[in-house]
């Protein structure tokens, strides 16, 4: 499998590291060998059609930038370099989906399968991309866009295939879950805990997408489209953030056996994100930066999974799962 990586931030570097570390495992367990033939970021690209050497790749990961890069754009590399799979890992833009959207379309149009962690293109053009992939006969996977390492989409679309999914409820944002957890533990106000989270690198300098619930709303949009088959748009998700949650409200909730979580809900009746009361012993009541998702389905009733929603190594779990999946799909086609 020849791979092109577009985007060399935390997720891209985490993926390279995991791919190099686990190359023998993939060969032995899945009969899959991979070469990274190109890596592109905002500054340039490194290309070797025979596969970049592992030593060079690891050095680039250590130094955090592309060594010996030429000035080329992602679109050019995707168009010109021969590869089986393009990993689209550039930062999310929820308004235009760019540059990820163009990268993905270009990859599909040149017959390459696409694996992405980027929510932007999915939120902006989910249907269009699914249809384009089908039309061009390529594979399209996006497990890492929802839940980080937690196999949310795979569980719903593959393992629970015999069920109809009626509703999805999820704690899908680690930053806000950390803030709410700390507010509860320390009886501390939102602003102070947010600062603490920023100092620890858990919250971004501009945390608005997380705390306003927009990141969760993006994930709900993706789940509504991919799992429930609803042609949902981000603007249709009724979204409330957590900045109005106070330690006093959390205490009153606790006295009645509840904890407060930012929960996204997707069903045929509702698409919403907001702070909710979660019974303390409910499986969604996960603490810290953990994510959890409950599927309400017709046969199994309720299934909940939880795990790490972010982090480069954790996210590579979903990206590499998708890679093996794509490899198997391509192999089956022969």
């Amino acid at each position: 499998m020849k791979l092109i990586l577009v985007g060399f931030g935390n997720v891209g570097r985490g993926l390279v590291r995991a791919l190099v570390q686990k190359r023998n495992f993939f060969l032995k367990e899945h009969g899959m060998s991979c070469e990274i033939v190109a890596v592109v970021d905002g500054h340039g690209a490194v290309v070797d059609e025979n596969g970049l050497s592992f030593r060079r790749l690891l050095r680039m990961v250590e130094e955090g930038n592309l060594i010996g890069s030429e000035r080329k754009l992602g679109v050019e590399i995707i168009r010109e370099v021969d590869a089986d799979v393009v990993f689209e890992l550039t930062p999310t833009n929820i308004k235009t989906g760019e540059p990820g959207l163009t990268h993905i379309k270009t990859a599909m149009r040149t017959g390459k399968s696409v694996i992405t962690s980027n929510k932007g293109p999915l939120v902006v053009a989910f249907r269009e991309l699914e249809e384009l992939a089908k039309k061009r006969g390529v594979e399209f996977r996006y497990s890492a866009s929802v839940g980080g390492a937690v196999p949310v989409i795979g569980l719903a679309k593959r393992i629970l295939m015999g069920n109809e999914v009626l509703a999805i409820r999820g704690v899908l944002n680690g930053t806000t879950n950390y803030i709410l957890t700390r507010m509860a533990q320390e009886d501390a106000p939102f602003d102070i805990v947010l600062k603490e989270a920023q100092e620890l690198g858990i919250a971004e300098k501009d945390p608005s997408l997380d705390i306003q619930g927009i990141d969760t709303a993006c994930k709900i949009t993706i789940l509504a489209n991919s799992v429930l088959g609803i042609d949902a748009k981000l603007g249709e998700v009724k979204t409330k953030g957590i900045s109005g949650v106070t330690p006093e409200a959390i205490r009153l909730a606790r006295e009645a056996g509840f904890t407060v979580k930012l929960v996204g809900i997707a069903s045929k009746r509702t698409l919403e994100v907001g702070p909710k009361l979660v019974p303390i012993h409910h499986p969604l009541a996960v603490s810290g930066t953990l994510n959890a998702v409950t599927f309400e389905v017709d046969l199994a009733r309720e299934i909940t999974i939880s795990g790490f929603g972010a982090g480069p190594r954790e996210t590579s779990s979903s990206l590499l799962g998708d890679l093996v999946d794509v490899y198997q799909a391509i192999s089956q086609r022969g």
């Binding site: 006093e248 009153l252 009645a256 407060v260 069903s267 009361l277 019974p279």
Partner: protein, 162 residues
């Protein structure tokens, strides 16, 4: 009720309950505690959808000559907890309680308050009691519309709705 201590009396007394759609939850027949007149005290717990059916069962039993000594009634209420917080005043809370009470079959049965240390607002936990999920839904919608208008943050349980 009190029944004569002869065979068939209990079955006879229970028959109208099922005939009028009552659901018998328990029957305690205490032969060891006979009254001075030799009657057996029997306690029946039953569930009916509407009050009217209950009255029909009672009058049927009376017409059959069954002696009913005590009727206890407990309306089964469903409960739902909601939290509101923000620039909320006692007067506004009072208003919410009043308006929910005016709806058919619902009331606010419990209120807990906390004054917020930052911002000077207030948080309130309300328990809404209602005869049915439907009446709870309408009470919730009412609170939701007030919260939206006054810009309070409203939180409900994740297990409801969706």
């Amino acid at each position: 009720m009190e029944l004569e201590d002869i065979p068939g009396q209990l079955v006879r007394a229970l028959e109208p309950i099922s005939r009028f759609g009552g659901n018998i939850k328990s029957v305690v027949h205490r032969r060891e505690r006979k009254t001075q007149l030799g009657m057996v005290p029997v306690t029946v717990v039953l569930e009916v959808g509407e009050k009217e059916r209950f009255n029909r069962i009672l009058s049927e039993l009376k017409s059959m000559g069954v002696r009913i000594t005590h009727v206890g009634e407990r309306e089964e209420m469903k409960k739902r907890v909601v939290l509101i917080s923000g620039p909320l005043t006692i007067e506004e809370l009072d208003e919410i309680t009043k308006r929910v009470g005016e709806l058919k079959g619902t009331k606010i049965s419990d209120v807990s308050l906390a004054m917020e240390s930052v911002g000077g607002g207030m948080a309130a936990r309300l328990t809404i009691s209602g005869r049915s999920d439907r009446s709870l839904d309408s009470a919730f919608s009412l609170i939701e519309s007030i919260a939206e208008k006054k810009r309070f943050l409203l939180m409900k349980s994740v297990e409801e709705g969706g």
